[in-house]
Amino acid sequence: MDDLYREVIIDRYQNPRFRGELDPHDYSYQDDNPVCGDHVRIDLRVDESETVTEAKFSGDGCSISQASADLLVEKITGMKLEDVRKLGKADILEMLGIELGPVRLKCALLSLKVLKGGVYGLDDVMTLDELAAS
């Protein structure tokens, strides 16, 4: 029907590949989007070389937030943490392949915020507004 609800987004929303929790994990972080109550948690396992060996997401929310989390978790599996830290808004938009208005942009970026909260620690995390404007 339209670009926002591309097949990949509906598919990832309805049949996520990486939904779950990792216990034990090396990194775990979760956060909410207060605008709509979307919730995402991401758990990571990394090896000695600081490479992500396994990643899972859990939570609930709209198709954009959940599909974005599923795709992001897939993307970072096998990545070095130093590269994960470099991921930005543009990477998320490229991954989703859609144009987003200001409200839905935050749905898409929630998983990135959570990921950064995990791998940077709380202090360095941008707010969703800052991420959206980045």
């Binding site: 029907m1 339209d2 926002l4 609800y5 309805q14 709509c36 109550g37 929310g61 709209c62 198709s63």
Partner: protein
């Protein structure tokens, strides 16, 4: 006020002509279907023009000025206060305090009355269906003063569990605060009965009328309620303005809220004497244009007739429930049409409310998705959020049909 037209006699086409925004195309070729009045109503030209006229011809600060504009502005501001008082049948215009919004009005009561009259261990009874505006100020007071909060439960079908009230009242609360119409479930609560029972138990009663005042006649003297809060922008008026009604004796006994200009009689370097009610609670320059706009909104509502508006909104709500029930996968929250008005909140199996609202928007249908500032209520029903369609005097059954048609498009996408 002229005699109200009977139910079903609202001339909606004539009303719609007064609301220029209803002609807006939200996308090329897609006309707005505005089903979000529960969040904020649209404004008729009469309100827009009243504010425009003020800024073009009367703009000036109120009170103390002796020049013509200041006198005219002060008069217009106070005339509007009188209109608002009459609209809810307050005994005196002085019982109307203008605030920034209904939220600030609750905060005013919690801050001023609450701090002066409540001590550790005192009980305030609220309900599980409150908007955050009538929860968080009391939670803040609980953290500060150690007061206790208890809640009238909500039943599975979205009504207040009145059977639980006697036990709560037996604990001798100091105040019972509740919504007269739920912003999520549309539930019309038995306000007069709750006020009466609260008084019998020695408690004051506060009504959150943010949803009820725009949609049904309100008579504070008949209700005998102690405090009523409501919001200008949900009743055809401008944003940035709320109203606190309080019984005069209570307002007079309460300490000031914010300090500053206008709320004083006398100021010395280390002390002040507070002004009289209501100025005591209106520190600083108020929202003058907005108050005048609200006065025009009240005129408009009176001309249409609150009885007729209540009947119209109820009829639309009943129709919406009937139509929504036909759509496979839709689950509606709240009581049957007999006990509710003005909105319908629902979930759609397999599609998140945010996605539902987004797809409805593609078809011009403006609804709201989220927790509607009532997270505890959504938790109670085990859902994070709902999609809410809300109705007002300018809406039609045809627009509800458009909502339902658009919901079938959601089904196509999310299967």
């Amino acid at each position: 006020m002229a005699a109200s037209p009977k139910a079903g006699t609202l001339d909606v086409n004539k009303i719609r002509a007064d609301f220029p925004i209803l002609d807006v195309e939200v996308q090329p070729g897609v006309k707005l279907v505005y089903l979000d009045s529960g969040a904020s109503s649209q404004k008729p030209v009469q309100v827009i023009e009243a504010m425009d006229r003020y800024y073009r011809h009367e703009n000036s600060n109120i009170h103390r000025g002796v020049h013509t504009l200041a006198e005219n502005a002060t008069e217009a501001y106070e005339i509007a206060r009188g209109k608002v008082a009459k609209f809810i049948n307050a005994a005196k215009p002085r019982e109307i305090v203008f605030t920034r919004n209904a939220t600030e009005a609750v905060n005013l009561v919690a801050f001023s009355w609450g701090r002066a009259n409540l001590k550790e261990g005192d009980l305030v009874v609220l309900t599980e269906m409150e908007h955050h505006a009538n929860l968080v100020p009391w939670q803040m007071l609980a953290a500060e003063k150690g007061i206790r909060l208890e809640f009238i439960p909500v039943t599975e079908d979205g009504l207040l569990d009145m059977a639980a009230l006697p036990d709560l009242l037996a604990q001798k609360p100091k105040l019972v605060g509740f919504t007269a119409m739920s912003n999520v479930l549309g539930t019309i609560t038995p306000a007069a009965e709750i006020v009466r029972l609260a008084h019998e138990a020695g408690a004051l009663a506060l009504i959150d009328g943010a949803q009820s005042v725009p949609h049904m006649p309100t008579d504070v003297q008949a209700l005998d309620v102690d405090f009523l809060v409501f919001s200008s922008h949900k009743m055809l008026g401008p944003t940035g303005l709320g109203v606190l009604y309080g019984k005069l004796a209570l307002l007079e006994a309460m300490p000031p809220f914010l300090g500053g200009g206008d709320m004083i009689k006398r100021v010395e370097l280390r002390s002040f004497t507070a002004n009289e009610v209501p100025q005591k609670f209106e520190a600083g320059t108020p929202a003058i244009a907005e108050v005048i706009g609200l006065g025009a909104a009240v005129d408009y509502l009176n001309a249409v007739g609150m009885d007729a508006i209540a009947a119209h909104d109820h009829e639309l709500t009943a129709y919406a429930l009937e139509r929504l029930e036909e759509v496979p996968g839709v689950r509606i929250f709240g009581p049957s049409a007999d006990h509710k008005s003005s909105n319908a909140s629902f979930t759609f199996e397999g599609a998140h409310p945010h996605d539902v609202a987004e797809i409805l928007n593609r078809h011009g249908v403006a609804t709201r998705a989220g927790h509607h500032c009532a997270m505890p209520l959504h938790n109670k029903f085990g859902i994070p959020s709902t999609t809410r369609a809300s109705f007002y005097l300018y809406n039609t059954k045809q627009e509800i049909d458009q909502l339902v048609e658009a919901l079938y498009k959601v089904k196509e996408i999310f299967g």
